[in-house]
């Protein structure tokens, strides 16, 4: 659509820039771990970059875990409402 206004993230370069900013911050934060001395309260924390690893793996585990959960619990949208509602037009409306 030529006449449509182009917005900030319609340009893939801007999206790339945001992503590179994220990569750079992550690299920097990992580097910081080698420089500063953190308070250690439990022995897991002695691992260099513990929080980075835990954050990355934890988040991935949550996402993959929820995919498994979805396989188990996902149902079509009117699973309950087709029995409950008398007005069929409302069965798919979420609000």
């Amino acid at each position: 659509m030529a006449d449509e206004k182009r917005y900030l993230f319609d340009n893939p370069r801007n999206v790339k820039a945001v992503l590179y900013l994220l990569y750079a911050s992550c690299g920097l934060l990992l580097l910081v771990d080698f420089i500063i001395h953190r308070h250690i309260t439990s022995h897991w924390e002695k691992l260099l970059g513990f929080y980075c690893i835990y954050g990355f793996i934890g988040c991935s585990a949550i996402i993959i875990g929820s995919k498994w959960l979805r396989a188990l619990v996902e149902r079509e949208e009117d699973y309950y409402t087709r029995d409950e509602l008398s007005r069929p037009e409302e069965r798919h409306v979420e609000q």
């Binding site: 934890g58 988040c59 949550i62």
Partner: protein, 567 residues
């Protein structure tokens, strides 16, 4: 009349009554002014307040303000103010009145010094809030609100049973530490657990909150569950069971939140996850942990309201709220998008945002008390919060795919309410002492030490990296038009099927019994008919003469008996 012992719920109820009889600007002004005055009144109290009253043989404390309840009192006033402001454009008297009554009931429950008063407000909370769901005025919302109301009222009934047992064992109705070493305490914990959305008892929340009106959900998100958190903090601090319940609550909703399509339902699951942190803090029960739970409740009310407001604004402007149907809205709603991201950063506990200064107290308390596994679980939950509330909400609503929708920014009152909430999120995050001064236990906790800031930032940034990586790899679960089964399956499907089966069984056996009986009866009538038809034996007409003969025989028999037995 305006004295320090004026219970804080009175202005709210008065405002609700005034909202019924006024319209337009006058009503808006009155509602905001009364709530502001009530908040100021609370703020200016210089000592604890205790109002006693005797009822039958019991000493009741209908109004008690102390260090624990007053913090919640402040934030309830802030939440009420923001929610009312956010709903000002709504031309629906019922919603305004119900919202004020609901907020007033929450404040009443907060300052209840005895269990009977608590019970009364507990039930009022249930009834008044159901109207905010029904105000959506669809059959769907009506049924959802009905389920919500039944479960909430059930919680009240269980509370009543519990408090009667408690009264019998301890002889007192005063509401202080309860604990679970007697039956009354356990029963009441169940009642409180329903409102606090303990696992399995939580499905009323994720069922009804997304069905309420765009503005009603903002009210709902603030009061019911946080009243329950306050009650737990007063009645059950240091109850070890709560640590595990809290950890479970912090974890399981994350997985559900990731796969929800309705964005307000994502926030509802996220709400349970946040309650998990608070319940955990109460379970640990040290001064630091309870402070953490209270301050988490405080900041949570504000940023969760902000998030629900931003989604409410999206719903109000587009009429859509499913991740599959919205997206790319930053183009025409940039202000809402930025405000939403401030809420998202706060709930994710980025340094300088309000979640950070509260959650870290609970984490620190968990480590201090040696709950290392719980600490790890809470850390995972923290990464999960970022994932489902911090990224998923703003990303799917305002970025992700372009839905083609080009709504304008919401009305000014909505933007203003969101701005106030966002400013509070930042202010508390930057000057945490402002919040810490209000806490029930004195504290010199400093969230901004270098290693804490660095570790939290590392955790969050690498969690974001994981999201970006999985999204680019296409592993991330795509938004889909679907729903996900949860504990509500038990009553919405299983019990429904059981009742249907039972109904069918009763109907078929009832039919069997009836048809057998019918057959018998018709056979009997056929027999009688056949006997009384002109040819039947019953139809024989006997002449009067033979009747005289029968009487003569009868009398003869009588005479014979009389002669045989003269005495």
């Amino acid at each position: 009349m305006w004295s320090s012992s004026l219970p804080a719920f009175v202005p709210f109820f008065a405002a609700a009554a005034l909202a019924l009889v006024t319209r337009g600007r006058l009503r808006s002004l009155l509602m905001l002014a009364i709530v502001t005055l009530s908040g100021l009144h609370l703020w200016l109290l210089d000592s604890e307040v205790l109002v006693t009253m005797s009822f039958l043989d019991y000493e009741l404390l209908p109004y008690r303000v102390d260090k624990l309840s007053i913090v919640f009192g402040y934030v309830f006033h802030i939440a009420a103010f923001i929610s009312i402001l956010f709903a000002l454009h709504v031309k629906d008297t019922m919603q305004h009145a119900a919202g004020l009554l609901y907020a007033g009931s929450a404040v009443g429950a907060l300052f209840a010094g005895d269990l009977l008063t608590l019970f009364v407000f507990w039930e009022l909370l249930a009834v008044t809030s159901a109207f905010l769901v029904w105000a959506q005025r669809s059959e769907r919302a009506y049924q959802s609100g009905m389920r919500y109301l039944i479960i909430q009222v059930l919680s009240g009934v269980i509370l009543l049973a519990g408090l009667l047992i408690h009264l019998k064992t301890t002889g007192s109705l005063k509401f202080d530490f309860i604990g679970i070493d007697h039956l009354g305490g356990i029963v009441m914990l169940l009642a409180f657990g329903i409102k606090a959305a303990f696992p399995v008892l939580h499905s009323w929340l994720t069922d009804a909150y997304p069905e309420a009106t765009p503005t009603g959900t903002v009210f709902l998100s603030a009061f019911t569950t946080k009243t329950a958190i306050y009650v737990l903090a007063r009645g059950y601090p240091g109850t070890e069971l709560l640590i595990y319940v809290g950890a479970l609550m912090a974890c399981f909703p994350i997985f559900y939140a990731v796969i929800q399509n309705d964005l307000r339902r994502v926030l509802s699951y996220s709400l349970i996850n946040q309650l998990g942190f608070m319940v955990c803090g109460i379970g640990i029960g040290t001064a630091l942990a309870v402070n953490g739970a209270v301050s988490h409740a405080f900041v949570h009310i504000i940023y969760k309201a902000l998030l629900f407001m931003s989604m409410g604004a999206v719903l109000f402007m587009t009429g859509k709220i499913k991740a599959t149907e919205v997206g790319g809205l930053y183009r025409t709603m940039p202000k809402t998008a930025i405000l939403c991201m401030i809420g998202a950063a706060s709930i994710s506990a980025f340094p300088l945002f309000s979640g950070f200064v509260a959650k870290s107290m609970i984490m620190a308390a968990a480590i201090e008390e040696g709950h290392k596994v719980i600490w790890l679980v809470l850390l995972l939950a923290s990464a999960g919060v970022l994932k489902h509330a911090g990224i998923q909400i703003p990303y799917f609503a305002f970025f992700a795919h372009d839905s083609g929708l080009r709504p304008s920014e919401p009305p000014r009152n909505m933007l203003l309410a969101m701005t106030i909430a966002a400013v509070l999120c930042l202010a508390i995050g930057i000057y945490p002492q402002m919040l810490y001064r209000l806490l029930p236990f004195a504290t010199d906790f400093n969230p901004y030490d270098l290693s804490h800031v660095v570790t939290q930032t590392q955790l969050l940034f690498f969690a974001m990296l994981a999201f970006v990586y999985l999204n680019l790899q296409g592993i991330y679960p795509a938004e889909r038009l679907a729903i996900n089964l949860d504990a509500e399956w038990f009553y919405r499907r299983f019990l429904r099927r059981v009742v249907e089966k039972l109904g069918r069984w009763i109907r078929s056996s009832d039919q069997g019994i009836r048809s057998t009986a019918e057959q018998r009866i018709s056979r009997l009538t056929a027999y009688l008919a056949q006997r009384h038809y002109p040819t039947g034996k019953g139809a024989v007409i006997r002449p009067t003469g033979s009747m005289v003969m029968y009487i003569a025989i009868l009398l003869a028999a009588y005479l014979w008996l009389l002669l045989s037995f003269p005495h």
